[in-house]
Amino acid sequence: MCEASVSQTAFCSGGRGAAMRFRAKIVDLACLNHFSRLINTIAKLAKTCILRLTVCKLYFILSDKVANGGASMWCELSQGNFFDEFQMEGVAAEHNEIYLELVPENLSRALKTSQSAKAVKIKLTNKHCPCLRVAVELEHPLFSLKPSLSSSSRIVTHDIPVGVIPRRMWNDFREPSVPDFDVSIYLPVLKTMKNVVERMKNLSNFIVIEANLSGEMNLKIETDLVSVTTHFKDLGNPPWASEDGCQSSAQGRDLESMTEACIDIKKLQQLLAAQQVNPTKALCNIVHKRIVHFILLHEEVSLQYFIPAIA
């Protein structure tokens, strides 16, 4: 029943006698819907992932294990933008964080009932094993019959099993650094990109993404039967401040020459299909024949997704 991959004794033996605590509440419907949409996106990108809780932020982390096909994800949001109440106490005073392993699809399902909820409360519990208890407060169905009970509600509770990640393993989940990329370029309209990639997925298992510093990007597939190339122009290249001059390799470089990476097309299609709303900003950084680093910004949420190149 409990799918925690980490021993549940880690939860009880905090080591210093401090018990981990987490409780949060969302009352605002718009925030709730936004949060649900985010969880739906995460669920489409990862079967299992790490939820890291700090005083100010929430992180959804997928590390680049072979099981994930090498793709990794780092999603970050400020709790203040979503939660009306947020209290957290980590494993210890000087490590005031909590790392949980969970199946985001479980969280997504729990939030499905919250479309028109009055409030959602999330709490870390440990009755039989560590769980995130999601309590969705809904309007009582008999509200119209008994106006005097207008404040009554019914509560739907979901217990989502989680695994507590012990302190010694936290280093496995550090924020990935922005790679020393060869090209950075804004993505085309995601809907168009998604449609094209979906069709290309029928034709090939691998796709080449290439781009240059003149705002041009090509998506290419090639098999024995067919080759297809889609050309995007005038995308624009984001300006990156050169801190120590390492990114200024752009100067003196041929603006037209293409940087490319060949990646698993399913991973790219998954990323594009997971987006439920158009991001405010969407760009990718390509390290020639090594890795493609996607950055998608949705107002209060930043999502980074890394897809390694096929050797």
């Binding site: 449609n195 069709r199 029928n202 067919v226 080759s227 297809v228 190339t229 889609t230 050309h231």
Partner: protein
């Protein structure tokens, strides 16, 4: 071999070269005959014919006449090649199948000749996709030798009358039996499935009947799995003509009106199922 995003100048001598403002005019018709991966394309001055066959019993043809295209030129008398139709359709619909009203994908098609791939240039919203699809030696196609002088029975029906019937055909039946007669039941579709037999009759004076020319009572059976794909063509069409010849060969001709109101045709030919004796009929 590398190729640029620009379509070649029309001065170049291509065996087949065509332009179409709305690729859907081609892709929707091809979908109506897409029941096998491979198809044979024949281009002549009159237009494009795409043929799909199965089991040496059934043949479907989609006709897109030259007038549908904004430009259509064939250098020799005819150009013929075999091509993967699934791949062709994925390429024609590379920008997706449901686009906003008012937007369409523009298409340019070029074929250099025997041994060369088919090149497609598709454009929508300023984004260009270039496709290069390998072609093969065309197979010999079946000739049903079906001409109007050999037709025994013929009816023309409005498609809406048949759509539901075909969509709900009892697929547990091995055959679809078609009866056409100058007398009752005039036009009857029958299936013999696990739950029993089902008969659907269309009287000759029905509103849906546009033409009724039956000279002889004929009952023929056709493998239902072979005819089922014709439902796609039926769904697109406004009218269908059903004809049989003396051997019981079936011709279904579908009249399809595209988004611009232009008429195109799709036809299906099917051999009667021979695993039955006279006594059973």
């Amino acid at each position: 071999m590398p190729f640029s995003a620009q379509p070649p100048a029309s001065g170049e001598r291509y065996a087949l070269s065509a332009s179409l403002d709305n690729a859907r005019h081609l892709s929707s018709l091809l979908r109506a005959v897409h029941f096998q991966d491979y198809a044979t394309c024949l281009a002549t001055a009159s237009g494009l014919r795409v043929t799909v066959e199965d089991a040496k019993c059934i043949q479907a043809n989609a006709f897109i006449q030259a007038e549908i295209f904004q430009e259509f030129s064939v250098q020799e008398e005819s150009v013929m090649f075999r091509i993967n139709l699934s791949v062709l359709l994925d390429c024609l619909t590379i920008f997706g199948t449901s686009s906003l009203p008012g937007t369409s994908t523009a298409l340019r098609m070029c074929y250099h000749g025997y041994g060369y791939p088919l090149m497609l240039f598709l454009e929508e919203g300023g984004v260009v996709t270039v496709c290069k699809i390998n072609t093969q030696e065309p197979d010999e196609l079946l000739d049903f030798d079906f001409c109007s002088t050999k037709v025994v029975n013929k009816i023309i029906l409005q498609s809406e009358g048949l759509r539901e019937a075909f969509a709900e055909l009892d697929m547990t039946s091995e055959v679809l039996q078609i009866t056409m007669s100058p007398d009752k039941p005039y036009f009857r579709l029958s299936t013999f499935g696990n739950a029993g037999s089902a008969h659907l009759d269309y009287p000759r004076d029905s509103d849906l009947m546009e033409a009724f020319h039956c000279n002889q009572t004929q009952t023929n059976r056709y493998k239902i799995s072979l005819l089922k794909p014709s439902t796609k063509a039926l769904a697109l069409s406004c009218k269908v003509s059903i004809r049989t010849d003396a051997q019981g060969f079936l011709s279904l001709q579908y009249m399809i009106r595209n988004e611009d109101g232009q008429i195109c045709f799709v036809e299906y030919y099917c051999c009667p199922d021979e695993n039955i004796t006279e006594a059973e009929l």
